[in-house]
């Protein structure tokens, strides 16, 4: 099986303002990016499941100019508020790195 990080040049998370968390899944090659789009394995359901958020709260964009996906979800706790564990939100991408992805060729 292939891991998501093996087809990406960078996977990252960061605040998009103090109330939202945003993920960038930046593919290394156009071919694998188009494959991901065709196979639709980066989807809103995936994020709802991994991060325990409601499906309607997951915003997903396929961003062709940078062969990347962007996903934005609400923060569990506002950045820096009591109980927050990651003020920049920058380590929240970690479960995505070793995500096993389907591989397949597109015609």
């Amino acid at each position: 099986m292939t891991k998501l990080r093996e087809v990406c040049r960078l996977i990252r998370s960061k605040n998009a303002g103090p109330f939202e968390l945003t993920f960038d899944i930046m593919f290394a090659e156009e071919k694998t990016y188009l494959e991901a789009k065709a196979l639709n394995y980066i989807n809103r359901e995936l994020f709802a499941a991994i991060y325990g958020v409601k499906l309607e709260d997951v915003k997903l964009y396929a961003y062709d100019p940078a062969i990347s996906f962007k996903i934005t979800i609400p923060r569990l706790i506002v950045s820096g508020a009591l109980g927050d564990s990651d003020v920049y939100g920058c380590q929240q991408f970690a479960p995505l790195a070793n995500l096993e992805i389907p591989t397949g060729s597109i015609a």
């Binding site: 960061k14 605040n15 998009a16 303002g17 103090p18 109330f19 939202e20 945003t22 960038d24 930046m26 991994i50 991060y51 325990g52 915003k59 964009y61 961003y63 100019p65 940078a66 062969i67 990347s68 962007k70 934005t72 609400p74 923060r75 569990l76 506002v78 950045s79 820096g80 508020a81 009591l82 109980g83 564990s85 990651d86 003020v87 920049y88 380590q91 929240q92 970690a94 479960p95």
Partner: protein
Amino acid sequence: MSWSVYPIEIRVLAASGMLGTGFPEESLHKGLAMRPHFIGVDAGSTDSGPTDLATGTCRYSEAAYRRDLKLLLSAAVENNIPLIIGSAGGAGGDKNVDWAKGLIEDLISQLNLSLKMAVIYSGQDKEWLKQKLAAGKIQLLENAPELTDAVIDESITIVGMMGSEPIVEALRNGAQVVLAGRATDTSIFASFPIMNGAHEGSAWHAAKILECGAAAVEHRPSPDCMFATLQGESFIIQAPNEALRCTPTSVAAHSLYENADPYKIIEPSGILNTTDSVYEAVNDKVVKVTGSKFEKSEKFTIKLEGTRLAGYQTIVVAGIRDPLILESLDKFLESCESSIKKRIKNTYPDLSEDDWKVQFRVYGRNGVMEKREPTPVIGHEIGLMIEVTAQNQKMASSIASVARHQTLHVSVPGWFGFTSNIALPYGANDLVRGPVYEFNINAVVEPDPTDEMFKTFYFDYPKVESGVK
């Protein structure tokens, strides 16, 4: 096809992604040799949490801020171009701005400079905000906490995030240094071009890339300068440091950074839409961007940011290696909690349970992701942080000492006798964090007239002595 003709080319130098994080002096000089019409630099953000906005402090060292400012002030005066600084002093609150103003005035006299400075304050009046709230002129944004008069009253600092308008006005009034309070990152770089008739889509998009300095290059080993040349409906982006390469992908990818939507960036007066933007390589280091659009909004709105005091904290840093504790860590932490609670009740019978809070952070299990951790698995040891929040510092420290002692000696099932459960790297010296803050406002307000929220003051240097001695 458009027949618009833009007779001028506007050149912009961004010093760095953040004032105080540095940039190579050589890059600045290379950038200046490309004859920019102005220099811009972002100097604050909400990214590192609410503290800088609440207290007026700056998370970068004063020495580093001075170093960057000194180079930029000299560069602006020597080249006779404006220097625009936005979200000054770490967060753009009035106190942050005054701190930065003090440093700049120091440097002006030290360097013997003659210039005019505009200082734009973005702090907001609470009574005015309450009137706006009552009039239905404040709208909450997504995931926003509730906004009431009480929330406004308990806020420590509330700022509005200015767009290009106050900066343009300061430039029109001849300021060579514009020191702006809280401002959209992009307005720092879009104001001068828009004032000079640049294509708005191109100006705002270039600004979005410039505001992070050299972050849009393929590989940026350390903070550096960035340069944009605006030509009609296109702009060209490159780093003055020739070791850094902009590629179509690296520049396009920058629209992703710290932004909820990669295609749209919201400004007070409209939305930058990059859906149709085309990124082309001019050569292996330079990229041309065409087709960005700026869509004017029907309503002019200013985003609000606010902070409140959340309490006072004292923390205990510890580690646990005992396999018996680690085998049933949750049970262990539960019994710690209940014995802490009991002990606090005995010590402070009048204290309500709502007035204090103890949180365990378990590093090595889910310290980073907390409830969102998909694999909360423990290894052979954990780092345990006991975080106490209370209504004053004395109480927080007192409860922390109780929490530390109870956690140290609470009984562990499987062991018989008196146990000591946590490794303390600093003994019984707990760490005082002082007051802690929270963001409490996420909303936009409709000013009427549109320029009523930001106050600008002008200063001429060297200061003219007034009055009779």
